[in-house]
């Protein structure tokens, strides 16, 4: 089978299947997301505001903006004070995930294929491994194949020796391992855990491992590579398709919750 990307023949692997499934995944995701959003509208009730205050509540616009930033930062601020280890692990995990998903060079090509304006971010691309990063920096090589976007000319410079897919994936695997430990601890304590949490978490963990194996060529064979890469994409697709039904949806709702908190606690409370 011929792939949409150039002349590379991949044969009978999971890879073409994965690519074929991408659009249906997105459709499925939008369907689920619409269902989730629709439910909010279906049960919406206009809040009743008894009166605005005339006493000591004026908040200046600058103050309101400052409080908006505080609203988003408060969780980490308190967490660092009272639960430093899990909070730090959580923050670093999110940061690593964002970097890997959106800035790993390979991922960027994928995103840019479906969303062309994504190309603007190409200078921020991070290389696959520490060796790539070092080579790009020390030798400043240009790619052998002609490409209009020479990834080796990123803006990270020597940072790519540590800021690369390989190291960040190690960090992610460790941090998600800590999370897994956290979950088993909760299980042992008899605290409630939900299947939706496990589902999202396990898919994510498996996906990271598959991506790591594929990019590291373990085991080292083209057929395996195609299958691993295909499996990596398929697992990601299952994850995306089920996102509206799992905790994964927090990547969108996070903003909703915090802005709502700010609106009711700062903006409206401060109105005169």
């Amino acid at each position: 089978m011929q792939l949409p990307f150039g002349d590379y023949l991949v044969g009978n692997s999971l890879y073409p299947l994965a690519l074929d499934l991408f659009i249906p995944t997105i459709v499925f995701f939008f369907f689920g997301a619409s269902y989730r959003v629709f439910r909010y509208f279906a049960v919406y009730k206009k809040p009743f505001i008894p009166y605005a205050t005339s006493v000591m509540r004026e908040t200046s616009s600058t103050e309101k903006v400052k409080k908006l930033v505080d609203t988003f930062a408060n969780s980490s601020k308190v967490g660092m004070k009272r639960k430093p280890v899990t909070t730090a692990a959580g923050l670093l995990m999110h940061l690593s995930l964002i970097v890997i998903i959106f800035l790993l060079a390979q991922h960027m090509v994928f995103w840019a294929y479906y969303i062309p304006p994504y190309k603007i971010l190409f200078p921020f691309a991070i290389p696959e491994s520490s060796a790539d990063g070092a080579l790009a920096f020390t030798l400043a090589t240009s790619p052998y194949t002609s490409t209009s976007y020479p990834f080796v000319h990123d803006i990270w410079g020597p940072l790519t020796i540590i800021l690369n897919g390989q190291y960040i994936t190690y960090i992610l695997m460790i941090l998600l391992g800590i999370y897994l430990g956290h979950k088993f601890h909760a299980l042992a304590e008899g605290l409630t855990l939900r299947s939706g949490d496990w589902w999202f978490f396990l898919l994510l963990y498996i996906d990271i491992i598959l991506g790591f194996l594929a990019t590291s060529h373990i085991p080292n064979s083209v057929v395996y590579y195609d299958d691993l890469l295909g499996a990596h994409i398929i697992v990601a697709e299952v994850l995306i398709a089920t996102l509206p039904f799992t905790r994964g949806f927090h990547m969108f709702e996070f903003y909703l919750g915090k802005v709502r908190e700010w609106y009711f606690m700062t903006y409206r409370r401060g109105e005169k």
């Binding site: 000591m56 609203t71 304590e189 939706g196 919750g257």
Partner: protein, 453 residues
């Protein structure tokens, strides 16, 4: 658990679950139900987590989520049931756990601000409290006190009547003239409850003195409007609370002041300021404010000056006044004027650590017991057991509070809620700390210098 030995009417419980959960879903609740990521960040904020991780906000609220899922999600109705993700009703044991959980939450709202998703677990736990109430699973001692308030019979109790009348005569002595009572159209209606009249009569006398000194057009109530209205909200009795609020609202409307001024910053503040009017969908002509709000306003208008103290003082933000009510700034205006050595507690503002309101109960257990005895309400063994069970969280949360007070070496902890004063006072004694806890007016009243116009 106190209710463990009592017979639970399972039918009533199931009916209550259906009523509460089908009746109160809106987009905010839906968000709280479905958007938690189970990260447990909320543990850090809850005054009950130091007692047990089982009392962490997310774990307590999960009971609500399970009941919600069965009713409102496809997943919950289908496979959720088979993998323990949702429940139609609760077994007896689960119901007992639920009751235990609801009395380990003060609805302080701290979890919401620490939750990265801004989820108010307290609001979900409150639904369980309503279920427990409807199913007759509320500790009897609280119910009896609330019933007394709803029926209006509290005024037939000599102990209450005498305390109230003695408060009025104390105020009369302090201001040296008749106390203006139920005067319509006054600028300030000085509102207070029997509970406060018992907890800190001196503070109330001082408030009246300030109003008199500042030459305000004010009035007091000839009769209280309840024991601590609307106490029903604290025990999950929405309907009973609505009855009491109707009484309060009629009185406020009848007097029609510019400001209804509260000295208490506990649950009565958001209840009378927001909930009451939201429930009846009315836009009143008056404004409900806390005494610190009016004093700060008058202070900023230069109606008086404050002679400062020379000691380290701190402000404890009552959860209901601050987080739920939005009053953070006014007390600080006064605190800064009261001492140059005003210091914030390590946890303050939206992150103020809850005093645990007498261990999740409606007050320090010994005080509740004494009150019941005075009122002739029998305290059963179950009640006693329940009250004793509220002591552990009070001690555990109190330790954190006292450590914070010690850390900033505050001589005086000032606040604006009778139960905070009681709970923090208990902890200070328990841990032999050297600070004192008072209502802000207690200290302020003696340091006000009125500017003659």
């Amino acid at each position: 658990m106190a209710i463990a030995e009592t017979k639970v009417d399972m039918e009533a419980l199931n009916k209550a679950i259906d009523e509460v959960f089908y009746g109160q879903l809106d987009s905010t609740m839906l968000y709280y139900f479905q958007s938690c990521v189970n990260c447990k960040a909320c543990e850090a904020a809850c005054p009950f987590t130091p007692t047990s991780l089982h009392y962490s906000p997310v774990n307590k609220a999960e009971v609500s989520r399970e009941l919600y899922r069965y009713r409102f999600s496809v997943w919950g109705k289908t496979i959720g049931r088979f993998i323990g993700g949702s429940k139609k009703y609760l077994s007896l044991e689960e119901a007992e756990t639920m009751v235990d959980y609801v009395w380990h939450c003060t609805n302080c709202g701290a979890c919401m601000f620490v939750c990265p998703m801004a989820i108010d677990s307290g609001a979900m736990i409150d639904l369980l409290k309503q279920v427990a109430f409807k199913a007759g699973m509320v500790p009897k001692i609280y119910r009896d006190i609330a019933d007394l308030e709803i029926s209006g019979k509290y005024w037939e109790i000599d102990f209450f009547k005498n305390s109230w009348n003695s408060l009025i005569s104390k105020i009369k002595d302090a201001i040296g003239k008749e106390v203006p009572l139920d005067k319509k159209g006054s600028e300030v209606l000085f509102y207070t409850s029997i509970y406060e009249a018992l907890a800190y009569p001196d503070v109330l006398v001082k408030v009246a003195k300030i109003l008199d000194m500042l030459n305000k057009d004010w009035t007091f109530m000839s009769k209280p409007l309840g024991i601590r209205p609307p106490i029903g909200l604290v025990i999950g009795d929405k309907e009973g609370a609505a009855e009491v609020m109707q009484r309060v609202y009629s009185y406020f409307t009848d007097i029609s002041p510019k400001y209804v001024m509260l000295t208490a910053g506990g649950f009565e503040y958001p209840s009378l300021r927001y909930t009451m009017h939201e429930t009846f969908k009315v836009k009143p002509k008056y404004e409900v404010v806390h005494v610190t709000e009016l004093l700060a306003k008058w202070y900023e208008n230069k109606e008086f000056e404050i002679e400062p103290l020379d000691e380290t003082i701190t402000w404890h933000d009552p959860c209901q006044l601050g987080r739920r009510g939005g009053v953070f700034e006014a007390p600080r205006v006064l605190m800064k004027a009261l001492s140059k050595k005003f210091k914030e507690l390590p946890s303050h503002g939206v992150n103020s650590f809850c005093c645990s309101r007498g261990g999740g109960g409606c007050g320090v257990p010994s005080m509740v017991e004494n009150m019941a005895k005075t009122l002739g309400i029998p305290v059963s063994d179950d009640d006693k057991k329940f009250l004793d069970s509220t002591l552990e969280p009070l001690i555990k949360a109190g330790k954190i509070k006292v450590n914070e007070i010690n850390k900033i070496k505050a001589k005086e902890v000032l606040t604006g809620c009778p139960v905070c004063i009681e709970s923090i006072g208990f902890s200070i004694d328990y841990y032999h700390a050297s600070s004192k806890v008072n209502h802000i007016v207690d200290i302020l009243a003696d340091r006000i210098k009125v500017n003659k116009k």
